[in-house]
């Protein structure tokens, strides 16, 4: 490449970089503005306008939000749904992925198709029957809240939907693991279970870590299922609870901002600490529907 051409590319790159940089600031601004507002009393903004200089600054909205909105309970609910759902999804996904990639059964491709297609179906398409089935099963076992209005019901529906993506990623990863590793295990006479548990599972750490990060944010952030499959507000995860709190605290937006920031904190922390896992997780799956 001639020197002037390279020089003009450098100049162009500087323009591009500046442009993308300015927009990055625009991108982050709504979050920063909400964060800033969460440190100010709403009454002050009401009285003196959005751009007024702050008279009072502090974490009082946070203290208030935690106390009045009962946020620790909701955060715990979120955790009690997200953690089992992620673990179960990865476990079940690794089972199917293992069988599909290590044994050549006729129905392997069909099975993968079934899971991947299921993952793409709109949630609205399955809602009515799932809702009725949960109530029905509850009546059968003599406890209406066995699955309906229970964290386990929400966990199950998340697992059922997400297992497709986990299976897809894990099976494509396992296909890249040399067959020789499995063959030596079989020659040694290891059972199928030992082959899975002692040989394959330890090798799956990298994709499992990435998937765990992705799924944690997806499941933690969802609020549709907890909204429709739970009726007791005190059992709902924090994302679903925010909807009700929005209605209840319209008179104090800044308190709500503090609540929203607290709800965002877990996924923000996961993202900041484990940033790289997001790219590699998506690279292995190529995509998620």
């Amino acid at each position: 490449m001639s020197a002037p051409a390279r020089g003009s590319q450098v100049a162009k790159d500087r323009v591009i970089s500046t442009f993308i940089g300015v927009f990055a600031i625009v991108w982050l601004f709504p979050i920063a503005w909400t964060l800033w507002s969460s440190f100010r009393p709403y009454a002050e903004i009401r009285a003196r306008g959005v751009f007024s200089m702050p008279e009072r600054l502090g974490v009082f909205n946070y203290a208030d939000a935690i106390r009045r909105m009962d946020l620790p309970t909701y955060l715990w609910n979120s955790f009690a749904i997200t953690a089992p759902a992620v673990v179960l999804t990865l476990f079940l996904g690794s089972l199917i992925g293992f069988v599909v990639s290590r044994y050549s059964f006729k129905f392997n491709v069909g099975m993968l198709l079934l899971f991947t297609a299921g993952n793409l179906l709109p949630a609205q398409l399955v809602f009515i029957p799932v809702f009725k089935a949960y109530l029905q099963i509850g009546d059968l076992v003599g406890n209406r809240r066995f699955l309906y209005d229970s964290p386990w019901g929400v966990v199950l529906i998340h697992v059922a939907f997400q297992v497709g993506f986990a299976t897809f990623v894990l099976s494509s990863y396992m296909k890249t693991i040399p067959k020789e590793i499995s063959e030596s295990a079989m020659v040694d006479g290891a059972s199928v279970f030992r082959h899975y548990w002692n040989v394959m599972l330890p090798l799956l750490r990298p994709p499992l870590a990435s998937l765990a990060v992705l799924m944690t944010t997806w499941i933690y952030n969802d609020f549709f299922w907890a909204l429709v499959l739970m009726s007791t507000d005190a059992k709902r995860p924090i994302t679903s609870a925010l909807g009700r709190l929005t209605g209840e605290y319209v008179t104090d937006y800044n308190l709500l901002a503090a609540g929203a920031m607290i709800a965002a904190l877990p996924t923000l922390l996961v993202f900041i600490v484990l940033r790289r896992q997001f790219v590699s997780g998506l690279a292995w799956g190529a995509t998620k529907g």
Binding site: M1, Q9, K12, D13, S17, I20, A24, W27, L28, P30, I31, V50, L92, L95, I96, F98, Y103, S104, V109, L114, T116, G118, L120, L121, Q124, L125, V126, F127, I128, P129, V130, K132, A160, F161, T167, M186, V192, F193, Y220, N221, D222, F223, F224, S240, L242, G243, Y253, L256, A257, G259, A260, A263, A264, T267, L268, R275, V279, A283, A286, G289
Partner: protein, 302 residues
């Protein structure tokens, strides 16, 4: 082929009873959960869309034929409004948000100055729950919010960004893109990692400009990822629900298909018109879903 079949046969013979049980459980449990909670309910919804039912007693279900669909097509104006809004959604995402995400990924992958920071900055909105996103944008756009403040308006003469029917779909598109662009960027970035850097260097040596390299080298080699991204864009636009629900609740503030399903199935006034809406949503997604599967399983299915 024969060797492979022989190996399979030998392997199958080598399975002990315990192994067979293990395999059955490994396959059976995940399939049972998935089929019972995704596929059977999906089929049930399709069947229910041809019935009248209030969703309470099973004995009350009566056959309706195509009545629910006729009702939607001929006497539900909200359906056509929703279809129009979903079409705007697909168009906006497809023509503006997705291409921007792809270009952003390309520039960040070239490691322009500050690329690490940019990647995090643009992806940040994607890790927020839409419940949080709704609150954040309310701070920007409500009558006494930031944007009205910048425009010098106060509550008495504020622009109603969410309430004005002429502009609210585009306001929503800005908010949805805030998320979508980052998502597409990261997906594409993940795909770009597999592009051989030698190809790019070769193009540079041939004197190609960056724009030419992108168009003639990167885009064609990224064809599989391009297909996936187009499909995801369409599917996401069709099943959009959360952001509208967060801002408008179940009121008809801004009709889209995902909300119409919800209005008709949740709460006291359930009717199977909701099921029919869900089936229409499903029918519209079938094309993209099949394209996605064909792309992902290209090597497996011949």
């Amino acid at each position: 082929m024969i060797a492979a079949a022989g190996r399979t046969a030998r392997r199958r013979r080598a399975f002990t009873r315990g192994d067979r049980l293990t395999l059955a459980l490994f396959v059976g449990v995940p399939i049972a959960v998935h089929v019972a909670l995704v596929w059977l309910p999906a089929i049930a919804t399709i069947l229910l869309s041809f019935t009248y039912w209030t969703g309470i007693r099973y004995t009350d279900i009566t056959w309706a034929g195509l009545a629910n669909y006729e009702n939607i097509l001929f006497s539900t104006p909200a359906f056509w409004d929703a279809l129009r809004n979903n079409a705007i959604w697909v168009g906006w995402f497809g023509l503006i948000a997705t291409p921007l995400g792809v270009l952003l990924a390309y520039e960040i992958d070239r490691q322009i100055r500050g690329h690490r920071f940019y990647q995090s900055a643009y992806y940040l909105p994607v890790v927020l729950s839409l419940a949080v996103t709704g609150i954040i944008w309310n701070f920007m756009l409500r009558p006494d919010g930031f944007v009205n403040g910048i425009m010098g308006r106060d509550i008495s003469n504020a622009v109603s960004f969410f309430g004005n029917y002429d502009i609210n779909i585009y306001v929503i598109m800005v908010i949805a893109s805030w998320r979508h662009i980052g998502y597409i960027m990261l997906l594409y970035l993940a795909g770009l990692k597999s592009v051989d850097p030698a190809m790019r260097e070769a193009a540079a040596l041939d004197g190609a400009t960056e724009w030419e390299t992108f168009r003639k080298v990167i885009l064609p080699t990224m064809r599989p990822v391009n297909i996936i991204i187009v499909v995801i864009t369409i599917i996401e636009s069709l099943r959009a629900f959360d952001i509208i629900y967060v801002i408008y609740g179940t009121s008809a503030g801004l009709p889209i298909l995902g909300i119409l399903v919800f209005q008709n199935i949740a709460g006291e006034g359930a009717s199977m018109k909701g099921a029919a809406f869900a089936v229409i949503l499903f029918l519209l997604s079938i094309g993209p879903i099949i394209t996605y599967l064909r792309q992902q399983f290209r090597e497996d299915v011949r």
